[in-house]
């Protein structure tokens, strides 16, 4: 509802004020007069009228011109279109990434400024300022409330998906409300853009990862995928993820999120088809040119072809500052019986590790390699 008001008023703050007033009026009148047949339309009409009254009182000429525009008709679908416009507005490239994330969570997710601040571990005033600056930029620079033109859509959609995935990754390490919010946004996007394979694929990816959340830790200690108790997986979420992936594949999707979701889906099977996963990682690496992707692919190669083949790949990667490069090397060296080198690699990984469960995990691995 706020989305349609923002579109009409072109102003986030006025839209929020108007929405609040409308809800207040509804809370007062509906118990007395009964709920209207179309509550959504009633709320929006009331909010618009309140906003118009307020603008009239403020007597600003430029804003008065909005009164000259007749309000458009009110079918239910108008909410969907305007929510979609809002998504693209919040994720416009003219806004800094942290502003895109904050604005998306605030306007589409409906999180309070305080909730978002806590989720990203910044003071509330910082987050409030970030939102204010972003809204000012939208107004001052003329960022449009529109679904981008066709030639811009692929890049703009990629930006939207990146924001949602960023939110998910922020929440993945333990802040489950954030991860849940990202999934909610993903579902909304899938409803709003049902013909986009990458949208379904991102939702699939998030559901498949989140579905395994219950088994990732045991008594506060990290549990690797192969050691996880699958009964702790959320089978409904994983099934949902698989279904979304199938929709993406049916739409001929073959872009990064589709590949990542397919990999995640294969990880959830038993037995794991490591050769297929390795092949998908190779395809993904071609699309993204990412050494991290190649590193993850090497892990699959270790399972399907052996540690020596995997180590050969890992040793070509320029990722010296990356904790998981060293932890992976250490694991592979250990499997090849090169214990001294493995210990060195685990120590290098420990120097880079910050989260406690990861540190303990690496220390255990290191201890297991102590000279006898």
């Amino acid at each position: 509802m706020v989305a349609s008001l923002i579109g009409f008023l072109g102003d986030f703050d006025r839209a929020e004020e108007a929405a609040q007033e409308a809800f207040a009026v509804a809370a007062e009148r509906w118990p007395r007069d009964g709920t209207p047949d179309n509550p959504g339309a009633w709320l929006v009409t009331t909010a618009r009228n309140r906003a118009i009254d307020r603008i009239r009182r403020e007597r600003v000429l430029t804003e008065k011109t909005k009164l000259l525009e007749p309000p458009p008709p009110m079918p239910e679908s108008i909410f969907a279109d305007e929510r979609l416009e809002l998504v693209f507005t919040c994720c416009h490239p003219a806004l800094a990434l942290d502003a895109q994330v904050a604005l998306t969570l605030r306007t589409l997710g409906g999180l309070s400024t305080d909730e978002i601040a806590r989720a990203f571990l910044v003071p509330e005033t910082t987050m409030a300022q970030r939102l204010v600056r972003a809204k000012k930029k939208i107004k001052a620079a003329g960022i449009p409330f529109r679904i981008p033109a066709d030639h811009l859509l692929p890049d703009r959609l990629a930006a939207v998906l990146a924001v949602v995935y960023l939110i998910f990754n922020e929440g993945y390490g333990g802040r489950n409300e954030l991860a849940a919010e990202a999934i909610r946004l993903g579902r909304a996007l899938a409803e709003l853009m049902p013909d986009e394979p990458e949208v379904h694929a991102l939702l699939a990816l998030m559901l498949l990862h989140d579905g395994r959340r219950g088994a990732r830790f045991a008594d506060g200690e990290l549990v690797l995928l192969r050691d996880q108790d699958r009964s702790l997986w959320d089978s409904a979420q994983i099934a949902g993820g698989v279904a979304s992936l199938e929709r993406a594949l049916a739409l001929q999707g073959r872009r990064p999120y589709v590949l990542q979701a397919a990999i995640a889906s294969l990880h959830a099977e038993e037995p794991v088809d490591w050769a297929e996963i390795a092949a998908l990682y190779r395809e993904l690496a071609r699309l993204t040119s990412s050494p991290v992707v190649e590193l993850n692919g090497a892990v699959a190669v270790a399972e399907s072809e052996g540690a020596a083949a995997a180590l050969a790949i890992v040793d070509t990667l320029d990722l010296d500052g990356y904790l998981y490069l060293h932890s992976t090397r250490a694991e592979l060296l250990s499997r090849l019986g090169r214990r001294d080198e493995a210990r060195t690699a685990y120590r290098r990984a420990l120097a880079l590790a910050q989260a406690e469960p990861e540190r303990r995990f690496l220390e255990r691995r290191l201890a297991a390699l102590s000279p006898r």
Binding site: H92, A94, A140, A141, G142, I143, P144, R146, L152
Partner: protein, 114 residues
Amino acid sequence: MKYALLIYSGEARDEWDALPETEQKAIMAEYVAIAGEPGTYGGEQLQPSATATTVRVEGGQTLTTDGPFMDTKEVLGGFYLIDVPDLDAALDVAARVPAARMGGIVEVRPLVEG
């Protein structure tokens, strides 16, 4: 909405200098074409930064120096003034400025209006 497209030539100038005359002409034609678009109501090319003089007034004294404000690679080479519906339309024009694909940058800034 009105915007200034500030064209920072940077390396674009060097790239342009290295091109054969026919290609240089083709690129100049692109600049002229943008100047002729309905949304464009102003625009000029600036002479090279070596021709610039900087003026400052401090304590009632006028200080005049040879050269541009900032002696960097990112030299302001020219600008357009455009009037278009929204930022996306402005970004569209900016992306077509040849300097943008030749190592330079185009800054898009809304004008103070009204």
